[in-house]
Every structure is written in structure tokens, then in C-alpha cells.
Symmetry: C2
Subunit: 235 residues, 2 copies
């Protein structure tokens, strides 16, 4: 059972995009060029391009070659409203810890698999500020299996997901989230700089990835008073 030809072409083009060999704005080879280069017919070439299009890597226009675009992240994720959109607001990320090796926390909402727990976790936490106000505290864990040189690294453009994609060719394939409205106590109140008993939103997320056995576990505390949490989904 060998992999379909159009899937191979798709994988090849995708990895080139991920590795920035085709950077945003680049025009891909035309369908006819792909046919010649890989000895395939247009049907096969188009199937590969169709997948890249559907997954948001390229934009296709009649009469024009396919163009690499900024990948949309409508992964059902929630994000602080105004984080990457609002021009004019001042965004700041403060790395509190890591990425570093750490023991797994106990009592996680989504319990990791045995294999994940067999090695220490890679952990990092950060604060997110908008216009000087702390709006979110974020903690992240994932198994160190297969990540020998991850700790201490700087993220590409400050983005963890971009780093995963470009340096390790790992994509987020899905997510499960759980939301609780709770009252801020102790450390949470202190980190978010709000009073004890203020309402905050706790979000626990399990991201699944394209690497089998690898999941990312996140726990967020959000002050939604000024900046609500939002997301948009486009079919």
C-alpha cells in the first residue's frame, strides 16, 4: 500500500512552504510545470493543490498561479480579542519560565497518555499584556520525547506554533477545550493583578498534533473585563 502520488506532491509542496523555501507571497509552479516536473497529469497536480488550498496554505485565482498566503488559524481556538487584529493596541508577551524541563503537574483536566508521562515535560509559561494591562496567564506542557534541543530556545517571531511548524514540521491537527468561570484566588489574582474574588475565565486545552503521541497541554487564566475572549469560525 504505497502513498498516492497526489499526496506525495502535496507533502512536498507543503514542507517547502513550511520551511519557507516558498515564503508568503511566492507564486508556486503552474499546474503544467508540476505535470512536467513530476511526470503526472493535471488531475493529479490539481488534487495536490486543492488540498493546499483547502488547508489555507495557498490562494488560487483563475488566470494566475497559486500564491502562498499567511496561513489562517481558524482551529476553533479561542484568543484574546484584539491580540493580533487590533492595530494601535500595544501587545506584549512576558516569558515567565522556560521552555525548560519540568515534572508533569498533577490533576490535569486532560490526562496525558502513559507514554507522554514516561519522560519529563517541557514547560513554559508567559503573561500576555494588551495596552499595558495583563489579560492572560498561560502555562504549557508537552512531553520531551523527541525534543532533545528545545529548552532554552527562542521562539520564531515569538510564536510557539510557528516554531513547531518551521523547526519541527509539526502541525496542530485538532483541539479540545474546557472552560470554567471561576473566582480569582491567590497566585492567579496576583499574576493577573486583579482583586481576590474577581471573575476570571479558565481555559484548559489539549492540542493534538501531526506527530503521533504528541499533545500540547495548555492552561489559561483570562481577565475578560476589558478584553473579552473571542473566536471566529468560517466554514
Amino acid at each position: 500500500m504505497k502513498e498516492a502520488r497526489y499526496r506525495q506532491i502535496y507533502q512536498l509542496l507543503k514542507s517547502r512552504i513550511q520551511k519557507d523555501q516558498y515564503s508568503v507571497g511566492t507564486l508556486l509552479p503552474s499546474e503544467n510545470e508540476l505535470c512536467r516536473d513530476f511526470s503526472i497529469t493535471r488531475t493529479t497536480a490539481r488534487k495536490a493543490l486543492d488540498m493546499l488550498d483547502r488547508e489555507g496554505y495557498i490562494k488560487r485565482t483563475r488566470g494566475r498561479r497559486s500564491q502562498v498566503i499567511e496561513r489562517r488559524h481558524s482551529l476553533g481556538l479561542l484568543s484574546v480579542k484584539g491580540f493580533s487584529e487590533a492595530a494601535g493596541t500595544h501587545v506584549e508577551t512576558i516569558m515567565l519560565a522556560g521552555p525548560e524541563l519540568a515534572s508533569w503537574p498533577t490533576g490535569m483536566v486532560f490526562p496525558p497518555e502513559e507514554t507522554e508521562l514516561s519522560r519529563p515535560a517541557i514547560f513554559f509559561s508567559r503573561l500576555r499584556k494588551l495596552d499595558g494591562q495583563v489579560v492572560m496567564h498561560e502555562s504549557n506542557w508537552f512531553s520531551s520525547i523527541g525534543f532533545e534541543h528545545f529548552t532554552g530556545q527562542q521562539f520564531i517571531d515569538g510564536s510557539f506554533f510557528k516554531t513547531l511548524s518551521q523547526r519541527h514540521l509539526i502541525e496542530i491537527t485538532g483541539s479540545t477545550q474546557e472552560l470554567h468561570a471561576i473566582l480569582a484566588r491567590g497566585e492567579v489574582a496576583r499574576l493577573l493583578r486583579i482583586s481576590e474574588g474577581a471573575p476570571v475565565l479558565q481555559i484548559c486545552i489539549k492540542f493534538s498534533t501531526s506527530r503521533p503521541g504528541l499533545n500540547i497541554y495548555s492552561r489559561l487564566y483570562c481577565n475578560t473585563e476589558t478584553y473579552p475572549i473571542g473566536n471566529t469560525y468560517v466554514h
Copy 2:
């Protein structure tokens, strides 16, 4: 500029599924039968089926005809954890009001368009209970334009979205949500049967639909103490 043949076939098959002419479990005509019936080639028939597959209307298996399946609604929506999944828990929906004509509320998070506001809203509200406990209060508004006989109707299987789809062939095409953690006050506390000052999750949603100019506006208050809000997204 006429519509592509494969799109016509796709629309036809989809409407048959929506209208329950092909109900869940039904095997669709085979690709070769579609070719004969509509005088097309397999490439064209397959493109229509591919779309139905991607949008979650059918499941395709090699050696077997395509089968109509229960449509997955991973629309980035949030839902009370355990609402449709948890076997054993007792789910109850209490209609509090409507569907009935009402004036539009003021101060909505997502302001409706002028055309929507030019006619009164259709409004309905309900309480959701799990195991006898009230976990959510839900209010919904949408413009009465084009809905002359909607008020007073019973929903199909108690589902508003199913009713929209089957009776009016309207699908949800996207959603934008905004979340706030707030403290329950007055009516909200009373409806959810919790004490004043308890933390609750407020969710405001704007659903866009396949009918131009029609949006559904919802406001939810959730008691997340026992049952968190969750969602899963699969790429």
C-alpha cells in the same frame, strides 16, 4: 456564467439529505449510477460527492456506496460538556418564551445590520438542564424577514438548527463568539438558581447563515461549576 455541473449535483444531493429524502444510514446512488442518471463522467460525480464528504454529510468507504451520516457540527461552537455525548445523564430543555415576534434588544455585543433591524425580531429563550440542574440560560434573536410562519412552531427534535436546515434549507456557515467571565446578578442568578456573586460564563454569538442577510444572535449564561463548557475541533 452558469453554475458548474458538479455543484448542481452537489446541491441536489445535499437538499435531498436535508429534506430527509435520503435519511441517516441511507446508501446514496453509486458513482456509476449518478453518471448514468445525470449524463456525467465519474470525475464530475466524484467532485460532488467529495464536497458532501468534506462537509460531513456522507461517509465514503472503498467497495461500498456512500452512506448518509449524522452531520458533525464542529463549527467552532461551544457546548455544555455532556449535553449530547454523556449517556446516562438526563438532558432537559425548558422553553421559556417563543418563538415569537419581539423588538430587538439594545446594546447587543454584535450589532445587527440595518436591514435586519427594519423588521421585528423573532425571539425565543430556553433553559438547559443536566441531571435536574440548570446549567444554561439561552436567548436567541433573528430578523423576521422571510419567516412569515415561524412563530409558535415546534422545533424538529427540539433542535433549532435542525429546523432551520430541514424546513428552510438554511445552514450555519460561520460564527463569531465573545466570552466574558462575570458575576451573576439579579435575573441571571435567579434563572440559573445560583447565589448572587457566583461566577458565570457569558457567551455572545453571532451565527452567519447560508441565507444572505440572515444572522442568528445568541446570548448564553452558563453555570460552569459542575458542567464545564467545552468544544472539540478536528482538522
